[in-house]
Symmetry: C2
Subunit: 199 residues, 2 copies
DNA sequence: ACTCGAATGTTTACGATGCTCACATTACAT
DNA sequence: ATGTAATGTGAGCATCGTAAACATTCGAGT
């Protein structure tokens, strides 16, 4: 994918910028977030500890870049679950995908959401906007007469919260299929709760 | 509250264990989570860098202790909003309190939920159990005929997600009253969505 | 083709951190 | 009173983020 003479040891790397996020992503998946240091990234990219600073202002900038990739991959994952859901059932399958993503790549997910970071980072803003939009469209199709804005955030919050509670061990996440069942049951419960509420 | 001769400089601190969590909590509130280092805690407690290790195995153990305090304070905050809600309105006020807690003490909240940590820490387990229980009781009263388990996690997830999305800047949190409105609107939207859904 | 500035990497260095170990001091149980 | 366990100190190690000065290479303009 990247044009790079592979093994020829050149002084200039070729595409350190991209290599850094790749390395960072690998470290993240292999050894968790504590393993993600700029120095480790540099080592893995076969470059001196200071080199990454030519491409990222500081550690946080790199983290933002990684998070941005994470957002894109999350979006793909959701789309793979269902490109344009319009029933609660389809919506549920997307929700399950969301939670599964979080559980399969916990370190990445936490980088994306758990840390205080550049809210101003363009990549991040663009990437999250995509997720937001996707969600809003779902809501419009599934609940055409509802308050789109409010319901979209409600659903995002619900699913996001489910992901986090599983991640944090508040909800058992040892068995993936059990998780899927719980997610669907949870959504189901909410959907039927209205009629039972004491207002 | 703690028996301690205040200013007399004794070799032994008196209650370093407690002093550490206090210092840690202060650092957290004053300067954010990056400021929370074991060394800084030791400094603030007026003690050598190695001293805290007599009471906490490592940084994570201290963090867990701080988080446990956070859980207790969160529980108090929720109870203050309403000791035993039994209508959706009262439930909503508790939800608002939850989100406000997160926004007023973001660093603490992130320590409590955003980091991977001792799931086995007894203090933490006990503290979260209290929150869980409180929530479950709310659900039983408010939705007596619903699937308690599922609905309780649904509501927790929803509120927790709302808190995190605000924290992360996904939802604007500059104006506290606007946040309160959004939270109520969000819950409201969910409560009325069922009847509009395409099943 | 040549030159020279801009981009990109390297080296070295500083201060801070988590944590360990050997040692000092104190409290308490006998 | 005495000795052992609890608690605090000091020095030290590896790692980290980051900055500054220097080296190498790329590419644009002649």
């Amino acid at each position: 994918m990247y044009a790079m003479p592979a093994s020829k040891t050149t002084y200039h790397h070729g595409d350190l910028r991209a290599a850094c996020v790749s390395a960072a992503m690998e470290l993240l998946e292999e050894s968790g977030e504590t393993a993600l240091s700029l120095r480790a990234v540099a080592r893995r990219a076969g470059v001196s500890p200071a080199a990454p600073y030519r491409h990222y202002a500081d550690r946080e900038a790199l983290v933002s870049a990684v998070a941005a990739v994470g957002y894109r991959e999350l979006a793909e994952r959701l789309a793979a679950a269902h490109p344009s859901p319009s029933t609660t059932e389809q919506l549920t399958s997307v929700a399950v995908a969301y939670v599964q993503f979080a559980l399969e790549r916990p370190a990445l997910f936490r980088m994306m959401f758990g840390e205080p970071c550049d809210r101003d980072n363009d990549e991040r803003i663009a990437a999250t906007a995509a997720v937001t939009l996707y969600l809003r469209e779902i809501v419009v199709r599934t609940f055409p007469q509802a308050d789109t804005e409010a319901l979209a955030t409600a659903i995002w919050a619900l699913v996001h919260g489910l992901a986090f509670l599983h991640l944090e061990g508040k909800l058992d996440s040892s068995d993936p299929s059990a998780v899927a069942n719980r997610v669907t049951a949870t959504i189901q419960a909410l959907m039927t709760a209205t009629s039972l509420a004491k207002l």
